[in-house]
Chain length 338, copies 2
DNA sequence: TAACAAAATCCAATCGATTGTATTTCGATT
DNA sequence: AATCGAAATACAATCGATTGGATTTTGTTA
């Protein structure tokens, strides 16, 4: 029947003022040690728990960072969240995780909701549907620091923390070249997405640097699901290209492509070597295990959080925007060992 | 400089009272349509966004459900979260997702934090370290409805939504028997955990029902990582048991076991058939694809949410505790097709 | 013991929205 | 035009914690 105890209940029980109770609970120097002890023990006794809604309302600060990702189940994002949480907790901040499920409508609602709940900062990785940026532009008047990570969008005024996809694409391709591959095809993704464009550019740059001619028909774009990789590989092989290496823009499509190749009784990596991108957990388990580019989700999450925290404490909303690139590392496995 | 606009700003601009603004924004019948329009357009103009902290404080309701899981990256949990979110959003509730990372300390902090933020209900899947239940017992005085799902703990007064692990273990084993297996070994997990005990019991029950003798040395317990499965299989095979079927208590260990078997050039499924448990995404991708028990995370999330919502709206904290079992379904793939 | 500074505590306003009650406004009726 | 009732709006208290300033208590010194 009686509701949760408040500082007033503690105050009444001890015949002191609620402001003193509040200060005692916050360990203010304006309160004697003796009363602090009395307050604390009474709080314990009553099972008091601070009402954060009231506290945050008054202080106009929530000590909370909102995070918006397409899907928490994707390995890259869940490790990014790991990095975000670690960093935030160390700084005394809480984290609210939300997933847009790649839907623009949902992303809008989530962002509005987080703002309405007065998060102190926002970390956003936009959905694949996010081609209209109105809801993000709006954030500028809300005085909430916003950092985009991994999937950004081209709006001025916001900082970004991104994977160096160009270098990743370069390294992947270079690795195949150093393994002796001469005819390397590339399974690419939707070219509207910055990340796939950059991986593609990295591929071309590596070829160029090693004096290998780039052929347009060596490249096949798709949505990069497993099935897409399977079909792409089928297409490429029927072109009668003497393929000896495949760089896929993500692991899933690499796995699909490998499946087709294995069905054709072509040897991996002896005849055709494979490199993927993202280092999904499955890539270590399949056979042969897949060489890939590890995008450290943890690292990107950590850096993005540090950046947003800097903005929050500086209280300077006119922070100069800037973009931080995070390195992606090659992980050599069996699919490319010639 | 000027802070975010409030209802008072709207009120002042329109020379009306803030209570009227509040009612207008909430579409109360006590306000004329005309003023509603004026308020709404002014709100839009000023870029007003309701302060949920204030609203929730006043209403003593947050329309939010807190969710605590060990890891969001585990497929089962992320699909459970999917089910929770869908169901909650349909009912107009928000969801706060937190992960304990299997750590008791973290779980404690999370639960306290959620209570301090006055969530209306809690859905908890406890960590592996949660053998002390004090922080959960405390929840009883907080008058917040709590439902345990999947991983529960034996405390009276809370309801549970669980996977029917016994039936899952039974079905998996029965499937192998029906495929003609006569010597089925079982890779089991830590016996302190209810779920593994139940899967084991299901295994024994199926053997019994089909008149197959149960041998203790056919069972090997471990922590069920991939490596564990590999080692367990090695041990079992060197015992010179004529194994023709393996029921693993999770997919990862099944995959490890299959790896060893493949290395020994034993044919799967012809010589030894495999069934796992959990239906991890990887199980569909590996070769041969793994027959497994699908624990519908989505379903369990949905049911748990419906239950907690029922408790919330009924406002009856003395709801009788009860346990709902969710069916787990066999998914037949290539690893068991004889 | 009176005086005074410092320490401890209390008072009261505030954060922004909600809500029961009181008041005003308006139109209809006589 | 006076009266009445209903509709619309205004007033004021409230949710629980925080915080600057006022007041009281305490301890020290003359």
């Amino acid at each position: 029947m009686s509701n949760k105890p408040t500082i007033h209940d503690i105050a009444k029980a001890l015949r002191i003022d609620s402001s003193t109770v509040s200060r005692a609970l916050n360990d203010s120097p304006r309160v004697t040690k003796a009363t602090k002890v009395r307050v604390l023990s009474k709080a314990q006794e009553l099972g008091y728990q601070r009402n954060m809604l009231a506290s945050n309302l008054r202080k106009n600060i929530t000590n909370t960072i909102g995070v918006v990702v397409p899907r928490i189940s994707r390995h890259f994002f869940s490790s990014a969240i790991q990095g975000i949480e670690e960093t935030a907790y160390l700084a005394g901040y809480n984290v609210i995780i939300c997933q847009s499920l790649e839907q623009l409508e949902r992303e809008k609602k989530i962002v509005d909701g987080l703002v309405a709940n007065r998060v102190d900062g926002l970390l956003i990785s936009v959905s694949m549907e996010t081609l209209n940026y109105d809801h993000l532009e709006n954030l500028k008047n809300s005085r909430i620091p916003v950092i985009f990570f991994d999937r950004h969008c081209d709006i001025s005024g916001f900082s970004n923390v991104l994977i160096d996809d160009f270098k990743g694409g370069f390294d992947a391709t270079e690795h195949l070249i150093l393994q002796g591959c001469k005819h390397i095809v590339h399974l690419s993704g939707p070219q509207e997405l910055e990340i796939y464009k950059n991986r593609f550019e990295g591929y071309k740059a590596a070829l160029k640097q090693y004096g290998i001619i780039y052929y347009e028909e060596y490249v096949n774009s798709s949505r990069l699901m497993e099935q897409d990789g399977y079909i792409s590989m089928q297409k490429l092989l029927t072109k009668n290209i003497p393929i000896d290496g495949v760089f896929a823009a993500n692991d899933l499509s690499a796995i699909g492509a490998m499946k087709y190749v294995k069905e054709q009784h072509i040897k991996i990596p002896e005849t055709i070597a494979f490199v993927g991108f993202s280092n999904e957990p499955v890539s270590e388990i399949i056979e042969p295990s897949l060489t890939t580019i590890d995008q450290s989700g943890f690292e990107i999450g950590k850096v993005a959080t540090q950046l947003v925290l800097k903005h929050i404490v500086s209280k300077d909303w006119a922070q100069p925007e800037h973009t931080i690139l995070i390195d992606a590392h090659l992980i050599e496995r069996n699919s490319s060992k010639k």
